[in-house]
Amino acid sequence: MSGDFKLEKNGNANGKIFNGLNGHQPDLDKKAFQENFEPTPLHAAILTYLGYAIITVFGFIRDLMRKYHIEKLHAATEDPEMKDFVPLYASFESFYTRNMYNRIQDVFNRPVCSVPGATIDIVERKFSNSGWTSEYTGKVLKNVINLGSYNYLGFAENEGTCTEAAIVTAKKYGAGVCSSRQEIGNQDIHMKLEQTMADYLDVEACIIFGMGYATNSTNIPCLVDKSCLILSDGLNHASLVLGCRLSGATIRVFKHNDMEDLERKLSDGVVYGQPRTHRPWKKILIIVEGVYSMEGSIVNLPGVLALKKKYKAYLYLDEAHSIGALGDHGRGVTEYFGIHASEVDIMMGTFTKSFGAAGGYIAGNRALVEHLRAHSHSACYATSMSPPVCQQILTSLSIISGTEEGRNRIKQLAKNSKTFRQGLKKIGYIVYGNDDSPVVPTMIYLPCKIGAYGREMLQRGFAVVVVGFPATPIVESRVRFCMSAALTDEQIEKALKAAEDVARVLKLDYSADKSLSC
């Protein structure tokens, strides 16, 4: 019974395979690329810097008090017998954690104890000593509406066809594989998933890995080496940065989504070659992401492709957040722009966000995938994907690409993203990013409001993710909402009402243009 689903090959009815568009190539320039990064209002910036300055001054005062034992130091300290040795760590490096992060710790690292669907159960904690000590109150906050999980198509569920199929597979294969792909861990379900994924993306072949982060960090070193040039977008994820560093190639960073900067760096790379010898680079690889989760922006794929063709570079597209979430059939950012997947050399993605599973894949032409099968660090040393997880992906893939339910999920996600974004803009929030992206980052700016926003929203029954410095630039602290197809229209309305209420309480309506309708 497991894995017996039919995959509908899109666009195949008329005999033409073209990513769901039946042979019609839309006008790429006509698609309005609306990205929105409203500049920081001056008064908010000044107040933010003053806020950080006050926190820093008080931090210094309290550190002084802790040093002279006026205040109790709760952090771990080294053994006083070791004081003549070189210190293990510099206590200044944990200044920020001690004096700012710990004080609003109750909005981070919240323990959850349910499936992260449209609603989530949060274990309640009580903090004392300005954030140093905490204890469980014994209560669980049930059915908090979840606006923070990467659950784009709502597949994070513990009942339904996906779960039933996964249970059957677990009963057949067990949970563990106990080997790597190249040894004895290559199961028929892995090969089936790879074939299915390749058909879904309309590429020649695909290879899957057990962990999404490791897909990037273990495979980029197989593709480039030290005589290659990598042009990496400024906001690339830590996994891509680590993969680039591990490869030993020369890394040049171009400004986020800035095609002119990319063109300048590409032409410099081609014209000047390698640094000292001026020999030509063996390969130039442009690494971009489909949707950037911290900014909510979508890569300018037609622009990047035009540059790639002009300068004969390769393109690595990381669709961690866009596969399943963008495009009419969920095929990602290539379908969103109406581009065929074969134009992108290396398509990478993860199964963690839209498919409710774990792991990643790399898809492309057969030569690439066969090379990775033989040379990938992950295929050689890392355990392969667990079979119930593979089954979850197979089932969710068949739902997305074949059935009415899948189409409804995709439509609901697009509708939710649009409604939520428009609603927030009407309230007066500054919302970053592209209008179609399912990630909605909203600006908070002031450091004190970071903690306040998380707490206020939890009081009103919403779980949100707030991010501040140093994960974001110092002035741009934000709350990042992640839309989900599992959220119903009523829940979105309630969320907008709560957001409006909190905006009133915290004065978060910074937007200069309150009449934005898009």
Binding site: I46, Y49, S94, F95, V467, I474, V475
Partner: protein
């Protein structure tokens, strides 16, 4: 707030002085401190201006040239652990806009303090010493230099 994404730069301290609005905030804070000193009845105008200059210089020396490293963990394997904040600005590139701004503010304050203290000799000595304290550590020739091993580790 380590959310798994990296910042655009490995060490945010290097670019903080290019953020929008931070120069204005800096000037406003200095101006505000000056107003507080001016409003104290037991300080004459000359004394309050000189005190502004002195406080500004001493604070600047402490924050920019004494404290080393970063108040948060960076992902660049401790490259800047023994660098003062002045050396971290723009990753050590000299003559950038932020560095020029920091060179200019002590000079402007010195000129104003000299003017408002009517060029009195004692005030002149104090102001000049503070100016030297503010300007000398910022010279490109003294980048990374630790005289007599002071503040080395």
């Amino acid at each position: 707030m380590h959310t798994g994404t990296t910042n655009q730069v490995a060490n945010p301290n290097t670019v903080v002085w290019n953020s929008p609005g931070i120069w204005i905030t800096y000037l406003l804070t200095t101006g505000f401190m000056h107003l507080i000193l001016l409003s104290m009845p037991w300080f004459t105008t000359s004394v309050s201006w000189t005190l502004t200059n002195v406080l500004h210089g001493v604070c600047m020396y402490f924050f920019l040239h004494t404290i080393k490293g970063t108040p948060f963990e960076t992902s660049d394997q401790g490259k800047y652990r023994y660098s003062t904040h002045w050396e971290q600005i723009d990753s050590g590139t000299q003559f950038t806009a932020a560095r020029k701004f920091f060179m200019t503010t002590p000079i402007v304050l010195y000129i104003l303090a000299s003017f408002y203290s009517m060029y009195d000799f004692t005030h002149f000595v104090v102001n000049t010493l503070v100016l030297l304290l503010s300007l000398l550590p910022k010279l490109p020739q003294l980048h990374g230099v630790r005289i007599f091993g002071i503040n080395k580790y």
